[in-house]
Amino acid sequence: MSSAAPGTPLVQLRDLTKVYGSGESEVRALAGVSLRIEAGEFVAVMGASGSGKTTCLNMLGCLDTASAGQYLFCGLDVGPLSIDQLALLRRNYLGFVFQGYNLLARTSALENVELPLVYRRVPAAERRASAIQALRDVGLGDRMHHLPSQLSGGQQQRVAIARAIVTRPRMLLADEPTGNLDSARKVEIMKLLRDLNEDRRITIVMVTHEPDMAAFAGRIVQFKDGLVERDSAQVPA
């Protein structure tokens, strides 16, 4: 993957199509999306619900496979890969943050953050050290041994972000990361994501329907009816 030729975009979508169901009930969630994302970008994907923005994010995260078209990740065509190969791609290059946090219940913040490293076969001591560092990076150095149920929504999302960045991924994918939070927490989380993008050069693709949140990104991709309607750069807030 690191052998990709210089100038190869991190992400390249060519006419990507996703169809759910068949016949009468056929739904074209993506109707031929073409998109380029360079390493280091912070992209906000916007659009009304049903516009295909979340489907597109799932495609980018190799969580779902396309019906037609091509997805090149660092120049590699993801289409022909097996389920296990996609899992390895996620393990080694991608990080996820979900609206609902998706932390393991009854499992401490530290152990949640360690989890991706377990699958990467990182030795226990190193794993622990990395996880502690990641939690400190998101400002939760003093809450490491708390369970998700003992943490506020904002704190849980911070744990999820720590879990996503502990592997130093090439791309962080966030699906409505602030959707469940109050406005003060929303801004905190967005600032954290912006800092990760600016200081760590982590590429971030974030789905949101809130213009206030999209304002933190350097580029906004607007979806409508399964197609990219508008793609514009901006100065981040």
């Binding site: 996620r90 393990r91 979900f98 219940a105």
Partner: protein
């Protein structure tokens, strides 16, 4: 990685104490109930067999009277002393013979009295019926010959009339005669059929005939075959001889009956086998119920676990890695539950056996069957839903409600 996964599996078990405990409980109950039921069933069967052995396994009993039941009333001739002498001659070396007669009688000692059965026979009676002398001794030859007023008493009679005292040398009144107690037999306990085998008094046959009944008839003849494999042959000999002596025409039904304990044992074995089969079937049902319990808790936890699988898959776990963890979890829960069930089952059946005065019988085959079955159910229902979930795409698994 294997070690890490195993560790992760155990951590998951520990993190969900309620779920883990409920799963194990199903297995524990299933395994323990099977072990208890079958162990008690086998214990009861063993007790029945031992009781029969206690009555004398090589025992044959000849009684006058037709085997045929029905409206044809026939008064059968009792056996005579000559019949006894003839069978003794005929069976020399093959079987011991104890002619006997018995009747109910009131036993009196001082102000104590007790209704029991008095039997007249010879010393061979003790050997054939497997009675052992605890105190004193059997009858002397001269006492048997002369019909002396002596008796050997069973332990129940001893307790009723003498309490803890040594009865040997004392005199008790049997019906109308005073008899000196010369021996006490060791207790055999209650028979399988609820009969007190120690509630009897034995006097020499001549004493019984001359002093108690006034008749030389012999009510019943006991035989003790020397070898178990000779029982059918001994029986045939007895029948042939008695037919001849009692002048039964060839082909006619005899007016006497010879039963061997071996045949009775065989019949009883069929009964106990049926009993064990029945208990096994009940145990099987309880195992099934336990299995359904395990299945339920596993399936109930599947929603939560499907989300967990979605999380693991989304952060880069491969399906087989998740599955391996779930398999280890299911095996650990089933294994621990099975082990606890075995321990509990053995303890409880040992305790119950003591309480019910049954011999404790260890049932390794049942332990194995119960364990393997519960563990299989536990692993199957812990594993199969996980396998299904691991094949979903991560998004679907995460959305699972």
């Amino acid at each position: 990685m294997i070690w890490t996964t195993v560790l992760m599996a155990f951590r998951e078990i520990w993190r969900n104490p309620m779920r883990s405990a409920l799963t194990m409980l199903g297995i524990v109950i299933g395994v323990a109930s099977v072990i208890i039921m079958v162990a008690l069933g086998r214990g009861a069967a063993a007790k029945i067999t031992a009781d029969i052995a206690g009555m004398g396994t090589n025992l044959l009993i000849a009684t006058p009277g037709s085997e045929r039941r029905g409206p044809v009333a026939s008064v059968a001739q009792p056996f005579k002393q000559d019949d006894v002498r003839a069978v003794v001659r005929e069976l020399e070396g093959a079987a011991e013979v104890a002619p006997a007669g018995s009747m109910g009688a009131l036993l009196v000692r001082g102000n104590q009295n007790w209704n029991s059965t008095v039997t007249g026979s010879t010393n061979a009676y003790f050997r054939i019926r497997a009675f052992q002398l605890e105190l004193g001794e059997g009858f002397s030859d001269s006492q048997i010959q002369s019909g002396a007023a002596v008796c050997v008493i069973g332990s129940t009679v001893r307790t009723k009339l003498f309490g803890a005292q040594d009865p040997v040398g004392s005199t008790i009144r049997i019906a109308r005669i005073d008899c000196a107690v010369v021996g006490v037999t060791r207790s055999k306990g209650q028979s399988t059929f609820g009969q007190d085998q120690d509630d009897y008094v034995l006097v020499p046959l001549a004493t019984f005939q001359r002093r108690l009944t006034g008749s030389t008839d012999v009510g019943v003849i006991f035989f003790g075959a020397r070898k178990a494999n000779q029982i059918p042959q001994v029986k045939a000999q007895i029948i042939a001889l008695l037919r001849e002596r009692r002048r039964i025409a060839p082909g006619a039904l005899p007016d006497f009956n010879v039963a061997s304990m071996q045949e009775i044992t065989a019949t009883l074995d069929t009964v106990t086998e049926a009993l064990i089969t029945l208990l096994g079937a009940i145990a099987g049902v309880s195992l099934l119920v336990g299995g359904i319990g395990i299945m339920n808790i596993m399936l109930v936890s599947v929603t939560e676990r499907t989300r967990e699988i979605g999380i693991r898959l989304s952060i880069g776990a491969r399906g087989r890695e998740v599955l391996f963890q779930f398999l280890v979890e299911a095996m650990a829960l089933s294994g621990i539950g099975g082990a606890v069930g075995i321990l509990l089952g053995l303890l409880a059946s040992w305790f119950a056996a003591r309480l019910m005065h049954l011999p404790f019988s260890f049932v390794p085959d049942m332990v194995a069957i119960a364990f393997v079955f519960s563990a299989t159910v536990g692993v199957a229902f812990g594993y199969l839903p996980a396998r299904k979930a691991s094949r979903l795409n991560p998004i679907e698994a995460l959305r699972y409600e």
